[in-house]
């Protein structure tokens, strides 16, 4: 075991960790917003919307994330330069990077899984509470904002924590589309120094630490709003 390379590659490791965290934060936050819409469409949408949302979830949950990522990066990416005006626009430096495609496909994928979780949670909110809200004369939107959604999110919170950890464990895939995340740093160290296990071990410690941080954070949030039994 040889860990002398850590001192030279330290800045790269930190930068990689930043990329990983950024990718996770983007996909989880935007994915969550998208998931709320998808879950609501499945629970209380018109038949047409319901069918659309269900199809989306089946599509993204039924295919490997790696294939989705490559479909976006190679497939959609090869069409993007044909979009008139995009190459000259200020968006181009963002849109041509692997990071953009990784963020988009991770977001869409996370939303599909999260929507399924939220759908179950929305259905699990006790009917009486919604009826009480309606009896107070709340409009549909107020009811959703004040009662239905907060209650559902609280019910789903432990599962959401698990989903975020799963999403963290999916982020190394981004290295296949040239994102310099934590795993890509390990790969680069392997190429430079011909060490196989040491970089993987160091990066693994980072991932496990991030997992611990996520689970702790969710436990803290859960303790803020205890569920009465």
């Amino acid at each position: 075991m040889d860990f002398a390379w850590v001192s030279t590659y330290w800045p790269l490791i930190v930068a990689g960790a930043m990329q990983t965290v950024l990718l996770l934060a983007i996909s989880v936050s935007f994915g969550f917003i998208l998931a709320i819409g998808l879950a609501l469409a499945q629970v209380s949408g018109t038949p047409w919307l319901r069918w659309l949302a269900r199809g989306y979830c089946t599509l993204f949950r039924g295919t490997p994330l790696l294939i989705q990522l490559w479909l976006f990066y190679y497939g959609v990416g090869s069409f993007l330069p044909m979009v008139p005006g995009l190459r000259e626009s200020i968006l181009w430096p963002v849109v041509r990077e692997g990071f953009f495609f990784a963020a988009v496909s991770f977001t869409l994928n996370y939303a599909a899984y999260e929507a399924e979780v939220l759908r179950g949670a929305l259905l699990a909110v006790p009917k009486g509470e919604l009826e009480a809200g309606r009896a107070f004369g709340m409009s549909r939107f107020t009811l959703l904002r004040r009662i239905w959604l907060p209650r559902a999110i609280r019910i789903a919170l432990p599962t959401i924590g698990g989903e975020v950890v799963l999403q963290l464990k999916a982020t190394p895939l981004a290295f296949t589309v040239t994102v310099m995340d934590l795993y890509a740093v390990a790969y680069k160290v392997r190429q430079d120094t011909l060490l196989v296990y040491e970089p993987l071990a160091v990066v693994t410690v980072f991932y496990v630490c991030l997992t611990l941080v996520i689970t702790r954070a969710f436990r803290l949030v859960e303790m803020q709003v205890p569920i009465r039994r």
Partner: protein, 252 residues
């Protein structure tokens, strides 16, 4: 220049192929390669899943009945596998496994061998599956009412008979949803094997796409293949679960 023109004529696909020419199962179409990749992918799933069930059964038994060091060891295994990203686990195990076997062989004076990518893939994915399967089966066994197992013991059933007649049928309905989830996850994790360089569906697709530059078409085709297999196995697991739940009261 003339030679180039002849080559162009001999190979009509290079001019402007239609979608069906590209996906045709016979060369110069790439469909055959995709289907071969799909076949080896399905074999990897089945092998890894069966290995996972065997490890899971042993692991669950060890966790429930084993001595303390065995329980600690199994806890370490399941925690490590579930905490480390699949990609790192697969790459680490892939290299460590092939490296370890070759070192073992050289210790006995046998020249190093090229480890078959298929078996390495099955082994690695099976080890990952086994950790999750241990937890699923352990939970399912714990959910069996103790009285049923005690009654079997009171009848004088030996452990194997008790497992076959009482525990297994009672465990299946509890375990099947979790096992169906694991099947879905192995179908998706297997794509990660492409990163190690074994030619299953994902890598075959990437090669076909890279060679023809029709990236969208080929990745879309691969996605459709994965989706169809997922939907079919959804139906199969649904049927299996209702078979094992026969005679149970319906949930409200």
């Amino acid at each position: 220049m003339a030679a180039l023109l002849v080559a162009e004529e001999a190979n009509p696909i290079s001019t402007n192929p239609t979608v069906w020419q590209l996906l045709s199962p016979y060369p110069p179409g790439w469909g055959g390669m995709l289907l071969a990749g799909a076949a080896s992918t399905v074999l990897i799933w089945i092998g890894a899943y069966l290995l996972g069930i065997i490890i899971g059964l042993a692991g669950a038994a060890g966790k429930l009945k084993g001595r303390r060091p065995v329980v600690a060891l199994l806890d370490g295994y399941t925690t490590a596998v579930r905490a480390i990203p699949e990609l790192i686990l697969i790459i680490g195990l892939y290299y460590a496994g092939t490296d370890g076997i070759n070192r073992l062989l050289s210790a006995f004076g046998i020249p190093p061998i090229e480890i078959n990518g298929f078996f390495a893939a099955v082994l690695v994915l099976g080890l990952v599956q086994g950790a999750y399967m241990t937890e699923v089966l352990r939970g399912a066994i714990l959910a069996i009412p103790v009285g049923q197992i005690e009654a079997a013991s009171a009848f004088g059933m030996r452990p194997w008979l008790r497992f076959r007649r009482i525990v297994l049928p009672a465990l299946m309905p509890n375990a099947l949803p979790g096992m169906a989830n694991l099947w879905m996850s192995v179908t998706k994790d297997s794509a990660l094997i492409a990163v190690v360089g074994y030619q299953e569906l994902a890598l075959a697709t990437r090669l076909a796409a890279g060679n023809t530059k029709h990236y969208f078409l080929f990745f879309f085709a691969a996605a459709v293949i994965y989706l169809v297999i997922t939907l079919v196995s959804n139906v199969l697991f649904g049927g299996l679960e209702s078979h094992f739940r026969r005679g149970q009261p319906k949930a409200a």
